[in-house]
Amino acid sequence: MQVHRLADRLDELDDKRVAFLWDDLFRGDELFPVIEAELTERFGGVEVVGYEEFGNTHGGDEAEVISRLPDRLRTRRIDAVVSGMGC
């Protein structure tokens, strides 16, 4: 199996564009807003792109949503991704 290098981490989240990805499960609709508020408070100029932009990452359309993800993330100039909820 090919071993891949993880993406380079960011120095800080200030002025970065963060995408939320959600599998439509386990109260993500309750917790992602809290995460957004906290990121905004901690880091100046951080911008969140909501999970609605990317589709449900689990379930019937999963394969299609995941396959489109790299392009969608690049198109929206996303710097970092927060994905949930694995429960």
Partner: protein, 475 residues
């Protein structure tokens, strides 16, 4: 994790939020895709067993810092990990000794299902592949969970362990093709609700394969049914990595399911098509069809000599076996709920003698197997939280997410169907030919979706090489 892996693959740092207890599975999934050391942010406990206030408090106290650390240089240096422990290559001798010593070793290593195995010596594995003509190193796909190759050799190794015979190899290869098919969704085989795959064999050669389709169907005791079912579980353990240490998060599992063989003689007599025909198979050819199934329910002692008298029993059973799984109608799945109804031959004949086809039975069940809209909404929304927003079925129908039959009015007590189309009931014929019993099972939607493959017993011509020249990966 697969979403995070896609982001990392695109060069974008990611962090995955998981509940406590999911970190092992999450890391194993990352390793299986070649991304060792994916960043995780862990929520304490399980979100559904805590109040919103408690969830937010823990998120702010612990998980937020892990989210930030996971995306920044503070936690991860970005270098590729070791990819997990080094695995033996295909021809390595991993154990030697007496039969007892070998079995003890296999149990200790987690390579067996807990029952004694036949040691997969090179000689036995080669004999199992025998003169089938298959190249032992031919790859049928990749296990999405572990990243291991699905080789003819690994199929045969686990077949020897399960006690399979060489003539069963075509069945096992067909099942491996199903596992490799993205539409089946084998990577979900370790989800928490613990569904297990059911294999249905359809075709004229059931008897030749030694498969039981009659009395005691679904019970171990007939070699072919039992050994093939055991092979599947071993293959999911040893090649896909569905063990508690890696990818299996089943809260409650099911025992390895023995193969259900359809009663070919009865199907032929009454002119009904086999299950495989529902999924693209050719009638008259041998095929295996597989799906992961959740709950099962016996419908005992059905009384009736006409379809109209029998149908209420069957409809009631289908309703009773369907609970949270209805989220595969809308939510987790989208039109993926396709429960199974197994009719004993005597019941199938009641329908057939009245001129009913399987399609007619499905149409009647679509009308009769219904439950109140309010309960459907509770099951997929509030009572499982598996469909966000507690949607109303009438609204979903209005918005075109589900067929209009689900939204004929706003009356919460109106009865709505279990499935999105009458042909979504999967109907098989098997079991004791003279008892009026039936069995129903709910399925796990896209987490092991109904998929069929022909069983091809013709000698393969892909033998490109002979031993020894294995690739460098996996058992």
């Amino acid at each position: 994790m697969r979403a995070s892996i896609a982001a990392e693959r695109a060069g974008i740092p990611s962090v995955s939020i998981v509940c406590e207890g999911f970190d092992k599975q999450a890391r194993a999934t990352g390793r299986g895709h070649g991304f060792d050391g994916l960043a995780l942010a862990v929520l304490r406990g399980h979100v559904d067993a805590r109040t919103h206030v408690d969830n937010v408090a823990d998120l702010l106290a612990h998980t937020m810092d892990e989210i930030v650390a996971g995306l920044t240089h503070r936690a991860i240096d970005g270098s590729p990990g070791a990819g997990g422990p080094i695995e033996p290559t295909a021809l390595d001798v991993v154990a030697s000794g007496t039969i007892d010593e070998i079995n003890r070793r296999f149990v200790e290593e987690g390579w067996s299902d807990g029952l004694p195995i036949i040691p997969p010596t090179r000689d036995r594995v080669e004999k199992l592949i025998g003169d089938s003509g298959h190249d032992p190193w031919k790859t049928l796909g990749t296990a999405k969970s572990s990243g291991r190759d699905l080789t003819v050799w690994s199929v045969a190794v686990n077949a020897v362990m399960a006690g399979c015979h060489p003539d069963q190899l075509p069945i096992l290869l067909a099942l491996t093709e199903i596992l490799a098919d993205p539409s089946y969704g084998a990577e979900h085989s370790g989800n928490t609700t613990g569904a297990d795959a059911l294999v249905i064999f359809s075709g004229p050669s059931a008897r030749e394969f030694g498969l039981n389709s009659g009395q005691g169907a679904l019970r171990e005791g007939t070699h072919a049914n039992t050994a093939v079912g055991r092979w599947l579980r071993l293959y999911l353990r040893n090649v896909y990595g569905f063990t508690a240490d890696e990818h299996d998060k089943a809260t409650f599992g099911n025992s390895a399911r023995v193969v259900l063989a359809e009663d070919w003689d009865t199907l032929t007599e009454i002119g009904w098509e086999p299950v495989s025909a529902d999924f693209g198979g050719s009638v008259g050819n041998d095929a295996v069809t597989m799906a992961r199934m959740n709950s099962g329910l016996i419908i005992g002692s059905v009384v009736g000599s006409t379809p109209e008298e029998i149908l209420p029993y069957l409809a009631d059973g289908l309703v009773r076996v369907s609970g949270w799984d209805l989220t595969h109608v809308h939510g987790l799945g989208q039109g993926h709920y396709r429960p199974l109804l197994i009719l004993a031959p005597v019941l199938a004949r009641v329908f057939a003698s009245s001129g009913w086809s399987k399609s007619d039975v499905g149409t009647a069940l679509f009308e009769q197997a219904r439950l109140p809209a309010w309960k459907f909404e509770k099951l997929i929304g509030e009572w499982s939280r598996l469909t966000p927003g507690n949607p109303r079925m009438a609204d979903l129908a209005l918005d075109g997410h589900i067929p209009t039959v689900f939204g004929t009015s706003d009356d919460p007590h109106r009865l709505i169907p279990l499935v999105t189309s009458p042909d979504h009931f999967v109907i098989a014929v098997a079991g004791d030919p003279n008892r009026t019993n039936a069995y129903v099972m709910s399925n796990d939607g896209p987490h092991g979706h109904w998929t069929s493959r022909p069983v091809d017993r013709t000698k393969a011509d892909n033998l490109a090489c002979r031993l020894p020249s294995p690739p460098s990966s996996g058992v």
